[in-house]
């Protein structure tokens, strides 16, 4: 375990830049969005069970692409920002 004295902690906090905080917030928001996209996938599957129509396979694919897209954007944000 790293033991930091109060002076070191202050030094560490002073090194944190504004845009690093923004990056952390954006990544956190995108992580929440990935969870929402997962809920959408589950919900689409549930809706498709209630109403079984010809469009259902296509809608499921779109929901899955949206979920994968959300993960991709999260990874891009982690790398680019």
């Amino acid at each position: 375990m790293i033991n930091l004295n109060p002076e070191q902690i202050i030094q560490f906090l002073l090194k944190i830049q504004f845009w690093d905080v923004v990056k952390a917030l954006v990544c956190f928001a995108l992580f929440i969005y990935v969870l929402i996209a997962l809920v959408v996938v589950k919900q689409v599957n549930m809706m498709a069970e209630v109403i079984n129509g010809q469009m259902n396979p296509l809608i499921k694919i779109v929901a899955m692409i949206h979920f994968l897209g959300a993960i991709l954007v999260l990874l891009i944000a982690i790398m680019v920002l």
Binding site: V40, V50, L81
Partner: protein, 231 residues
Amino acid sequence: MPDLYIAKEKEEPKKITAEPKAEDKKIVEPPAEKKTKKLEIDLVETSNPIAAFATKPIGVRFETQTDEEEIVLLLRKHWITNVPWICFGGLMIFAPLVLRWFPLLNFLPARFQLMAVIIWYLLTIFIIFEKFLTWYFNVSIITDERIVDVDFNNLIYKEISEAKIDKVQDVTYKMGGAIRTLFHYGDVYIQTAGTEPNFEFLAIPKPEQVVKLLNQLREEEEREFLDGRTR
């Protein structure tokens, strides 16, 4: 007079058979044919998967549908009700182009500007997809036996209500306003007996045909009840 004893001819013993009397015979009815209701409205099969007014839709089933039950009509909100969110989605798609002339994001570092645009399009896709799902899966179904109303108010809340056709007491429809008259859509209100839920089919196309169809199904159901053909 001859004094001779002549024995009576033996009566043949009654044959005991297992054949029942005519009145005891049960009338064996021929196997009942699969019930199909004859309706006055000509119902053509609909193959369009995103039709708002689909008579006998092909390839559509719902969760609680029985094998002998047939979907007579599947209803969604009229397509014109989608215009606001389609326009909104279109605006969202083209909104980042405004940044060419009005550099609103210039206060951000370049990498954050790029991410802002990507996140914007992700949200646009989500909004459009969610609106489409809400429209596509919010359906009202009329089968030859019952009415089913499927409501997905948002992505995490669903409500499914159903009532037998013979529980329907009163059917009314309302169609008012310029846009509704122009595009021929309105609301249908169905009152049911007892504790059954009442139904509201909102903004559906051709409401008068829906009312007509429901009345015919009710009449047919009553006729079946009188004939003792109910399921």
